[in-house]
């Protein structure tokens, strides 16, 4: 395949570079070219690897699926395919779904507890949110490969979650309906001149929603326990939960206010809480904190964006968990 050795980011072929030069990044022609290219690759028995999807050995009858649900800190996951697929007599699909603003535990549970309604339609419309974020996709037992429906669906043998969203995201609750919303997609991705220019929407949001703030540690662990129980009963998956690096990479040596940095304290609290809850709740912990520290954190932009070396180390640690705690590779 056209990719860097060891599962790093694939290099772009000349045809893609030409299309990008002519039409710009992520244009319609680029996406068409990608689909065609992936189809040809699959017909030749080669794996597809993109940021969020890996599919390999599509001709095999047995299917193995790994489903990641979380933000940027889980981008290492699809690279596991390079390590795991050669050891499997099966077609492996690894997908990372969602984004950090759709992955906070209370928001995820909301999809199990409530049904669609007019308020949801209005909120989705006014905030420009993806309606799929409010569905219980995570808890469905199988998942499809994006853009390749004819490959059918894959089972969720392993589901990978992350603590990152619960560490950082703030939710808002609809004052009358109770609907939880993380408007990150709207505020972060929209043209701010457009957002600020539409003051009616801003006023509507302020009048309609109440800020919930960040989730407490106890609240998170209760939510996670329920999520894991639901996942195990509905999908039969082995559940892996990733912690994050707890310290701040690149912290200035002239900044000595360690004790006044509650974000690092919160991350430590959550890392400890995860470990203490894992056995009883029935999930495995992928100790991202340990792996990233061992590899070296000086190249990190922040605590959830990992360097290529760190991602490769995380893939090896994930493989260790697979070998030790699952039957995917035989007993």
């Amino acid at each position: 395949m056209s990719g860097s050795a060891g599962g790093g980011r694939p290099t772009n072929p000349l045809s893609l570079k030409i299309v990008r030069r002519m039409f710009g990044r992520l244009s319609g022609p680029e996406q068409t070219l990608r689909r065609v290219r992936n189809t040809v690759r699959m017909q030749r028995g080669r794996p597809i690897q993109r940021t969020n999807v890996f599919v390999g050995n599509v001709r095999a009858k047995r299917k193995v699926g790994i489903y990641g649900f979380g933000g940027c800190d889980l981008t290492f996951l699809t690279g596991v395919g390079q390590l795991l697929q050669p050891r499997l007599d099966a077609s492996l699909c690894i997908q990372r779904a969602s984004a950090v603003h759709g992955a906070r535990s209370d928001f995820v549970l909301q999809a199990l507890d409530r049904v669609d309604g007019p308020v949801l339609d209005e909120v989705v419309d006014k905030l420009g949110l993806d309606p799929a974020a409010f569905t219980s996709t995570l808890f469905e037992p199988r998942f499809a490969v994006p853009d390749h429906n004819r490959l059918g669906t894959y089972p969720k043998d392993i589901v990978v979650l992350s603590v990152a969203a619960d560490l950082s995201r703030t939710l808002y609750r609809h004052r009358t309906d109770g609907l939880l919303v993380d408007p990150g997609g709207w505020w972060l991705n929209a043209d701010m001149t457009q957002v600020l220019g539409d003051l009616d929407r801003v006023k509507w949001f302020s009048a309609t929603f109440k800020k919930l703030g960040k989730v407490s540690l106890d609240g998170y662990l209760d939510n996670l326990t329920r999520i894991v129980a639901e996942l195990r009963s509905r999908t039969g998956a082995v559940v892996v939960v990733c912690n994050t690096l707890v310290v701040d990479p690149g912290a200035a040596a002239v900044d000595y206010q360690f004790a006044n940095s509650p974000a690092t304290v919160r991350r430590r609290q959550f890392a400890i809480g995860l470990r203490q809850t894992a056995d009883a709740a029935g999930f495995l912990v992928l100790d991202v904190d340990r792996v990233t520290k061992a590899t070296g954190i000086s190249g990190q932009a922040d605590f959830v964006h990992y360097t290529p070396d760190q991602k490769q180390a995380l893939r090896r640690e994930f493989m260790r968990l697979v070998e030790r705690h699952t039957t995917l590779l035989g007993s």
């Binding site: 690149g250 040596a253 002239v254 304290v265 520290k293 061992a294 070296g296």
Partner: protein
């Protein structure tokens, strides 16, 4: 360590270090503290003990040493009952001490003491330990936090510097043990961070510093780091002690202006502009020179689709105290730690009389452009 004066009786006006490897290998390196001060710094070393023993040690002489102590245990009891920390300006201890599981209590007197690592008690001492004492067992993190708070309360004007622990240890053949240690260290670091937020103490964040370098290569054992890591830890620890004002660099009439470190990416750069000339007076807050650090691509290499190979960050170096610039080195390409100017308390001093003990001129950093 050998060249550092050892005392466990009186720390008056000096700096007391406990002999934990992370403390001694970094801030305890011979001459290091003196090089940042214009006058001799009195440094004393005491045995590193767990916080419950330390609380007892600082108890103000209320400890009655049991009369039945055998000769082989005398040093343990001495270390558990006498301390110069209370009269020192600064005391540096380490969370590594909390890992000790060799703390005992003398049943009759209730006195706590700690058996030193690697100590082999003779038969008499072993019998005394067995018959007259009981093992206390591992310490709980909450108790560590409570003990540290009590230590701060007892110390009064003495500033407490505490090294936290790298949560990484090499796994060898036992990954479970390594992970279990990581959890324990994580809880201890959290306890320290929490208590440090409520009580006046300084934390040396060894966990972060070692992780910046790569803990996989730089952690030898719990609380024991490579020479390179110890050097980086000492840089931060000395700066923190310096910031407490106990080193008094202006006791010397001359000081050296050196290239400061902003973070671990910025190791070499170019001076792009001097805002002062030789002969100029300097006041606190004056901009001295600009320095451009390049080669920052690795820091942002993890960010998708961003190529930062030409990225440059320009920092302004700002005076934190007053003086007169006596000499400016003509070089433009510099590295962190390079001496670029000599500053005197008066304009008529000879800048050529600096030596290894000449203190560093205090500066701050201001991000000018990134």
């Amino acid at each position: 360590m050998a060249s550092v004066p050892v005392s466990n009786s009186d720390g008056s006006g000096g700096i007391v270090l406990t002999d934990s490897p992370d403390v001694i290998d970094s801030i305890g390196r011979p001459g290091l503290l003196a090089s940042r001060s214009g006058e001799p710094v009195r440094v004393m070393v005491e045995p590193s003990v767990r916080s419950d023993v330390l609380v007892q040690r600082l108890g103000g002489g209320a400890v009655d040493i049991p009369p039945d102590v055998p000769v082989g245990a005398a040093a343990w009891l001495d270390a558990a009952t006498a301390s110069g920390i209370a009269t020192a300006k600064v005391a540096a201890i380490s969370l590594a001490a909390e890992l000790a599981d060799s703390v005992y209590r003398h049943r009759h007197s209730g006195v706590l003491f700690q058996v030193g690592d690697g100590d082999e008690p003779d038969a008499e001492t072993e019998r005394w330990l067995r018959e007259r004492c009981e093992a206390v067992g591992p310490i709980d993190e909450d108790l560590t936090a409570a003990n540290l708070a009590r230590v701060v309360g007892v110390l009064g004007d003495t500033r407490l510097v505490v090294y936290n622990l790298s949560t990484y240890v090499p796994d060898g053949d036992d990954i479970d043990a390594a992970i279990a240690f990581g959890d324990r260290a994580q809880r201890l670091d959290l306890a320290l961070a929490t208590v440090a937020g409520e009580h006046s103490m300084v934390v040396v964040d060894a966990d972060r510093i070692v992780a910046e370098l790569g803990a996989g290569e730089h952690v030898i054992a719990p609380g024991r780091y490579s020479a390179e890591a110890a050097s980086d830890i000492s840089e931060e620890a000395v700066a923190q002690v310096d910031a407490l004002g106990v080193l008094d660099p202006m006791a010397s009439e001359l000081s050296l202006l050196v290239i400061p470190r902003y973070d671990r990416r910025t190791t070499a750069g170019s001076i792009t502009r001097w805002h002062k000339s030789a002969g100029d007076a300097v006041d606190p807050g004056d901009l001295l020179f600009d320095i451009a650090f390049g080669g920052l691509a690795s820091r942002l290499g993890a960010t998708k689709d961003v190529k930062m190979s030409n990225r440059v960050m320009t920092l302004g170096v700002v005076a934190a105290e007053a003086g007169h610039i006596l000499h400016i080195a003509p070089t433009a390409e510099v590295s962190v730690g390079d001496r670029v100017a000599v500053i005197g308390v008066r304009p008529d001093l000879d800048p050529g009389t600096t030596d290894e003990l000449t203190p560093h001129f205090r500066v701050g950093l201001r991000v000018m452009e990134r």
